[in-house]
């Protein structure tokens, strides 16, 4: 038993930390606050380019494809430090699409797509959900039919975030209408410049834009179907597992907690320093405890992956715990700030640059997105604890 990073892990952490200190500037953080943390602005793009030039774009990728081949704990360290520094998140091409192509794609598909993703010349939006298929993803009805050497796609996708800027879309489609619903889905890469695609913006309460996307007789080459026909549902689930490492990080909360401590140390209300008020002290200690628990759970998830274990239960535990902690943290933190807690990022009086009210608005989405927390709990109960199924 050893609850501490080994020397090489510490060295990697310090390396990432040094990098962040140099490249995650206050200007970049300000741009991200404006963009709702989507990392879409010019400075965020420049930062991603720097990451790429540093060879850190594909931290988790095998070395043969130009990645660093880092294991799961090292990925966790990377994400944790990036989040703690307030760096833009890695996009879905890197965290979700590329790993799936790596595991499921043919040699040819790997050679075609991976170098272009790695070089940043293409990037992906992810199109899973439909108006009639959310948590029950396997109910999706967008279909693709083979016509000669091309797939013809018809249907609509929702919550297709980034579809208005991405060069490509990673689309779950039904290719086997006769098969049982989980076995009839495939993943197809759709270049966004194909005729027949209409993108309609949807604005969410956190100011993040997402999209409704229509496909009308959109044609793509046959080899754009990645991996095996009919395996798409399982690929999508696998991709969500990769995301869990990223979602399981409490780096951002750790940073916000330090800022919140600074706020209560220097702020006075009603003639008292907030850091001397009993309930505020206790509330901060409680957050300190909860963030540490989240750190342990996230690390455990990553560590188990490196032990060759598929941490289905721990991955779901981490997803549920951290997303619910985000909501709780934002709520308690705003209460500690009092009336100032409601000020938005553009208000110069906003403590912590309005980050907590922002977190409060994105937290609901984290809880129902990426497999709702109720579904995660069922996974924990059935696959983790072995409770009987119907």
């Amino acid at each position: 038993m050893r609850y501490e990073y080994d020397a090489p892990q510490r060295q990697w952490r310090d390396e990432v930390r040094t990098f962040c200190r140099r490249y995650v500037t206050e200007g970049l953080r300000a741009e991200m606050r404006q963009a709702g943390n989507e990392g879409d602005g010019p400075l965020a793009r420049a930062f991603h380019r720097t990451l790429f030039e540093n060879g850190w774009w594909g931290v988790a990728w095998p070395k043969e494809f130009g990645g660093l081949g880092k294991n799961a704990v090292e990925q966790y360290i990377f994400v944790d430090e990036m989040q703690a520094a307030g760096a833009p998140a890695m996009n879905l091409s890197i965290t979700s699409v590329a790993p799936t192509i790596l595991r499921a794609g043919s040699e040819e598909q790997k050679q075609t797509w991976l170098p272009r993703i790695l070089s940043g010349t293409i990037d992906f939006a992810v199109a899973y959900s439909e108006p009639g298929a959310g948590t029950d993803l396997a109910a999706l009805s967008t279909r693709a039919e083979l016509d000669g050497d091309e797939w013809v796609i018809n249907g609509q996708k929702i919550w297709n975030t980034g579809a208005h800027t991405a060069t490509h879309n990673w689309v779950a489609v039904r290719t086997e209408p006769e098969a049982r619903k989980h076995q009839g889905v495939s993943m197809i890469i759709v270049p966004m410049d194909r005729p027949g695609i209409t993108v309609q913006g949807i604005w969410t309460m956190s100011n993040i834009r997402t999209n409704l996307v229509f496909f009308e007789d959109v044609r793509v080459p046959r080899d754009h179907l990645v991996g095996e026909r009919g395996m798409g549902f399982y690929y999508a689930m696998m991709a969500l597992d990769f995301e869990r490492i990223q979602l399981g990080s409490v780096g951002m909360l750790a940073r916000l907690l330090e800022e919140l401590k600074g706020f209560v140390r220097r702020t006075r209300c009603d003639g008292r320093r907030l850091g001397t008020v009993g309930w505020i002290r206790r509330a901060i200690a409680d957050l300190e405890m909860r963030v540490e628990v989240g750190r342990q759970i996230g690390l455990l998830n990553a560590w188990l992956i490196d032990q060759g274990i598929v941490p289905t239960k721990e991955g779901s535990i981490s997803k549920v715990y951290v997303t619910e902690l985000n909501a709780h943290f934002a709520s308690v933190g705003m209460e500690i700030m009092g009336l100032a807690g409601q000020l938005g990022p553009n208000d110069e009086g906003a403590p912590l640059h309005g980050r907590l009210q922002w977190l409060y608005t994105i937290a609901p989405m984290q809880r129902f997105g990426g497999g709702t927390n109720e579904i995660q709990r069922i996974i924990i109960a059935q696959r983790g604890l072995g409770l009987p199924r119907k």
């Binding site: 401590k261 628990v293 455990l300």
Partner: protein, 376 residues
Amino acid sequence: MYLSPTVDQQAIQSEARRFLSAQITRERRLAWDRTPEGYDADFWRAVSDLGWFGFGLPAIHGGQAASLVDLSLLVEECGRAAAPFALFAQIAGGLAIAHLGTPAQQREWLPAIARGERRVAVAIAEQHAARNPAAFATVVRRRGRGLALTGEKRYVLQGATADVYLVAARDGRGTSLLLVPASTPGVTVRPSTTFAKDRQSTVRFRDARLPATALAGRPAGAWARLERFRHVLAALLCADMVGGADAVLEMTVRYMSEREQFGAKLGTFQAVQQMCAGMAIEFEGARHVSRQAVWRLSEGRPAVREVAIAKAWTGRAYRDLTLTAHQLHGGAGYIVEHELHRYSMRAKQGELLFGSTEEWLEDLADQLRLASGARS
């Protein structure tokens, strides 16, 4: 980083588990409930023969010098089995003398404690004092070449069966620690009735005369040493609670997989699955923050923050798990023949011992220096 017990450590766990589940039968437990000690002589001897009471004690005093991590895995199994709390008290008492006693006291007491022939109890809390040394009413004074101790200690684990007490008393300048044999004239014991089926007592010292050698170490800094030792106790108790919580989760899942209502196993209902998953989430956090705290203490690293987090989280989690387990077990888990009540009462008791949940959060807040002014 290695977030699980090694193969050797797993062997400690599985041997302890096998031993305890063979020893602790339902009938035996119900019989123990009616004894003043909370166990029987055969059981005590069997545990002593395994060397558990000396497991964490220095080898020169007849112990096995196990690390705190290894010892905690043994304690975890005691918690899993809801073994008589006397085992915890004896292990903790031995450690107390090893941490706080003089070399002569260690030579005198530890070998017999390790063999289970002598029993030791730690006596700190009073009716109106728990954590503030200035609030203690128990005092020790010089009487000629010796000492005289007067006061009343409460909530003394296994106080009625102890051969010796480790006592904290005010000495006029600060805090002194003393080793007081139970046979000392002026020492009287009155058992308390606690709800968790453990054995606690009020121990009274009325002008108890002691030689100067009864002092456990120099008075200077005794309180700080005692505080550090309380961290060890709290971390070990976390291990006990982790084991107990694991057992509660396991028995609940088992029952939910067997019990049928409305023509289906209860475990197939989503409401039940959501509750069980919630238990698993709280438990997983408890296991790892607790092990982290023990590991840091074991390695001699600063650990106040980690112990505070472990005790506060694990205490809450264990209590929550047992309450959810009661809801899921219904009447079946409410009767004394079912083991669940032993866990649920121990869980709530665990929240109170060695610093309560809220007190530890207060300690954690102190660590965070929130009142220190405009530094960010």
